[in-house]
Point group: D4
């Protein structure tokens, strides 16, 4: 299971903790979530460039070695859109996963519903909270329902 | 091996028991066969909707995360059509498996022969009883024939 | 556009007539809808068999030459489920189209909602009446909306 | 050539006009760019729902029939990110096109460089102005260079 | 439609003539059926070799440029096995077509039934006479049945 | 590694023994090589039919569950053509493997060179003796050459 | 037919002229063969960079829009290696075409035989002179042999 | 990870040693790097031919069994171009990997920048020294940056 998108809150930890507490046998992958490392990796390894465009280009290439491999190997792809930032790489990953036919779960607050309607339409589930993703995993792996929740897509 | 279709008789257990008794090393997958859980999972995890159409839609999405993953991983797909109900999802799975080029085994009573002719034509074997599926597995894995049966396709 | 499924009402004619009246440039394909011809084609061309199972098998093979070719060439696949019969080949075609990634439109009365939830979930639109399919085509081809309808998915 | 993304400026017209003035034989496709029609199409054709989430879901489905077909048929995909809005569907289309291996051209102002670095990395060209896309087309089709420009990626 | 296999009888002409007489709009492709040209083409164009193995190798390469292209473009592949010769290239083409998911029609005398059982199983129709292939085409294209035949698969 | 084709000599044993003696870590798959079991499996498990054609059809279906799965999983496919019989299923497997892009090794006596030229052309190696296949394996896995042989392709 | 590789001799013209003289109905594609335009296109359209590495990178991106599209559409790919230069893009195109399963014809002088052995092995024909490619086309399209040549692969 | 290309320096050892020293869990594959064995394998196993062209052809076939299998299995492909020789097989492998969508890392001295621009453009990273590849691996697997380097792409 590949966890793409927002890197500024603890949603990945909440999913991984929930899965562990439920005894679910799932392997999680994610992009490098150290923002500074992710931004500087290209220039650091391959050489500092004169324009930031090319530093970004080098870094995006190195990161893509990781993200595409994990995404293509994943059985399920979860993409989280947070409250802030443009998060175009999250939407890019969602499109990439959709074109590969990967089961897609999207996680975002209700306020993004209209702006994310195309992404949501391509998903097999739209959740609000990481715990719902854990519930989905528990059901998908073991057929077990959680106690009813009140949150809604 | 993915066991799709009818969830109201013990055909899956008969195949799994037969495989175990014959010492066959096969891993079986199936949809969630708890009918009530399967019907309510969408609304329970993702939120109750005002129309049953959308509750079904949410549930079908969550179930598809499981079924498509198992179906795409399977080496062989068995689809069982029982005596009752419309079982359109069984035929949908058969079509999905056929398009993926998965070897397909169909299991149904003789009374469905005419109505299932397109599905049967896409299959590599049409059986009547779960024990025949065990016989096929034993042959396919170890080249061993059963004692002759009298049942017919 | 491939029109699969029920062959006992005039839904194909209603879509084709509506498309023609709207001046839409669409080519329609369908299975052979002459029920008697479709059932007897295998035995007629390839030889009468002793068991009806094999006559059906021969006929399903010949029909599949037509249906798979049209289905794989189609840009959009519409599958209609009528009030009667089991229509497993319709659900099989829907699964086949879904696995190929074809945009799928499903057409059926509200009474089938629960039984068809897996098929509906795999579709990009669920309609009740053939005229809605014409509306979808007009929008998809020319971006034009119809006057609002009152029917609901 | 499929022109995805921003629908609030005249960038598509500038590309189409430039291509026509250069006598380039290119067929352009785009999503429905009438914003109101695009937002309301689902509810209008398939029925008004109680929650806006489901109206959006219906509309996104109908629009996807158009956009996926055009995108999968295109030889080249251009995605434009404008100054405003989140434009997640643009990034989704870019990811979808990238996974299909379509040659991708991205068009956006310099201010988006860092936020779009993953998308830019997946592209074969990053341009600032629609006229550069026309220049690319003229070169790609006829091997002709424009007079040198001063704008930079 | 690609007509593979035996090149020593007039079966291709019988199919093409029958299709023309029925007014069927079908384009036929075939390997080069001039046996001498087909055998010598490699050495003639690319240079005579010291061993016949390499002359055959060169010729098979040039012929494959034609046959694979036609086979991959065909909507339907017909493979004929005659009374004589080993015709391994016919069986090779049948396997190639089957792996590509092409609808396959096999044409051979009853005496080959047991030896060709794997090939027949992969086909959507097994016919004895070229005229049956014309009947299949007429039905597949126009839904028309022939007068009943007495030959059997 | 899948070993397809002739089942009347000990060529599979010679390859497996040679690989074992060289300490090569290879897993071998093959069709069911018990000729009587392979011929009767369909009728025995799925029911005796009135015509041998249908008994063969049932058997070929069950065998295909095994052979296609092994063939699609194999990293390398070896196909052996013996001195006798028509062996069309061997050529069919070779075509199937070629269309899947599997590395193909063909094994046959020199007398078949001309008749097998299309199959040989699709192969990455043409060998005469099973021991050459062991030599290829040893080289491919460990980069080790055998002592020079005198046999020729 | 896509003509990749060397751009400093008239081999493309010789093939196109020969095809025209033989009345062959073939459409030829090629990279932009104006060396100066091809090298400067990136910087000219997308902006001059501070390092030649990035100018080359921009140019290679724009050229790839043309070359990949033509290569993926081609039925046959011809790659010519001339006497001079490293011509790595020619070998890259050959590898790309081979992975796509395109029939590949390689054209080069005898002196390159050893260095190009991997590329030649992936080809369906290895020719020395452009006229041999015309001969191949004439045979592949019309089954006609040329007068015997004396040149050898 | 597949390490293709130049076989005359110790770049593979430097990557493997660096990966081991960093405790990276990576499995490396490569072509047979014993030049003499690689050149003679075809003739040695399959028989000496009269022309060196065919000896090369036999050897390239046997080597391709290894290289294609490793390349298709690899998650990342590294291709190294050294100072000497034409190394067309390295460029061929790069094109093959690009067409398969494998993440590609290219390793070459600055002097090759212009000649390799098409290959570099298809890569996700262009490095100068094997140690940079180790840095990329360490980052991709564990998100760890090295101390800043001064070398540049």
């Amino acid at each position: 299971m590949y966890l793409s998108g927002e890197i500024h809150t603890d949603w990945r930890e909440r999913i991984e903790r929930g899965a562990a507490e439920s005894g679910l046998d799932v392997e999680f992958g994610s992009p490098v979530t150290d923002h500074a490392a992710s931004d500087s990796v290209g220039a650091t390894i391959l050489g500092q460039q004169d324009r930031s465009f090319w530093n970004d280009n080098l870094g995006a290439g190195v990161n893509a070695i990781r993200t595409r491999t994990l995404l293509e190997r994943a059985d399920v792809v979860v993409v989280r859109f947070g409250e802030q930032y443009r998060q175009w790489n999250a939407a890019f990953d969602a499109g990439y996963a959709a074109a590969l036919g990967k089961p897609l779960v999207v996680l975002h607050p209700e306020g993004h519903d209209h702006a994310l309607k195309e992404v949501d339409r391509a998903a097999l589930a739209v959740a609000r909270e990481p715990e719902q993703v854990v519930d989905i995993l528990r059901y998908v792996l073991h057929g077990l329902l959680p106690a009813p929740l009140t949150s809604r897509p």
